[in-house]
């Protein structure tokens, strides 16, 4: 009566390994993009749309 238990145990281990591997790949793919940081176009966009950085009103005394 040991065999079926072992089979089930192997299956559970297999499933865990599969899921660990998928999780690892998914995070690696994701972090590959995260590590590229903030592209200039987005840094400029945020700065441009930030009203405190527009010259329309003085933000500090000269």
């Amino acid at each position: 009566m040991k065999a079926p238990k072992t089979v089930r145990g192997n299956q559970a281990r297999l499933d865990r390994n599969v899921q660990n591997e998928i999780g690892r790949n998914l995070r690696a793919m994701y972090n590959d993009v995260v590590e590229q940081g903030v592209p200039d176009r987005f840094a400029e966009l945020v700065a441009k749309l930030d009203p405190s950085s527009t010259p329309s009103k003085p933000t500090r005394k000269e």
Partner: protein, 176 residues
């Protein structure tokens, strides 16, 4: 509208993961960057509706996700009769980030139903809790949990990882 330094820094700090989420959703870096651009423009125009002290990342991810949803639906209507070109564009990775090691995963992700794909990425890669992911997707926590589970099962099947060779490799790797 006002944009204090703290808010601006919080937005910029979220941009890298926002891009990664966008790439995961649309499978294409150019489209992902357009999506991020639209998201930031929209977020900055509506910055007054952001409640200080709440989660900036979750707020921006919600905007991007909704933006992607409405665009995706529009595009699908537009190309419905155009011999599956949309399905192709979802699955063909552009040159600039065609890291071969991720090709299989990228293609398998593209075949997942959209609900499952976004849930899996939010929880499994972005690091949001089930509760945060449920808020971003506008659904119940239980729904997110079942989508993530189905996505994992589905991906394992698509990537045919459920074989003995893989199991041995996985054991060998995790032991090293």
């Amino acid at each position: 509208m006002t944009l204090d330094t703290g808010t601006r820094d919080a937005i910029l700090a979220t941009v890298p993961s926002l891009r990664a989420f966008a790439v995961s959703l649309c499978g294409n870096l150019d489209r992902a960057d357009d999506l991020v651009q639209e998201t930031l423009t929209r977020a900055l125009a509506n910055i007054d509706s952001f409640r200080p002290g709440t989660n900036m990342a979750a707020w921006l991810f919600t905007i991007l996700r909704n933006q992607f949803r409405s665009e995706y639906r529009k595009r699908r209507r537009e190309v419905e009769d155009a011999d599956g070109t949309h399905a192709q564009s979802l699955q063909a990775p552009p040159e600039q980030f065609a890291r071969v090691e991720f090709d299989e995963l990228r293609q398998a992700l593209a075949k997942l139903p959209e609900d499952q794909r976004e849930a899996l990425v939010l929880v499994g890669a972005s690091g949001f809790s089930y509760e945060e992911a449920a808020n971003i997707c506008g659904c119940a926590v239980g729904t997110i949990k079942s989508r993530v589970n189905r996505a994992r099962t589905h991906l394992a099947q698509l990537m045919s990882l459920g074989d003995e060779d893989f199991a041995r490799r996985g054991v060998a790797e995790s032991g090293s």
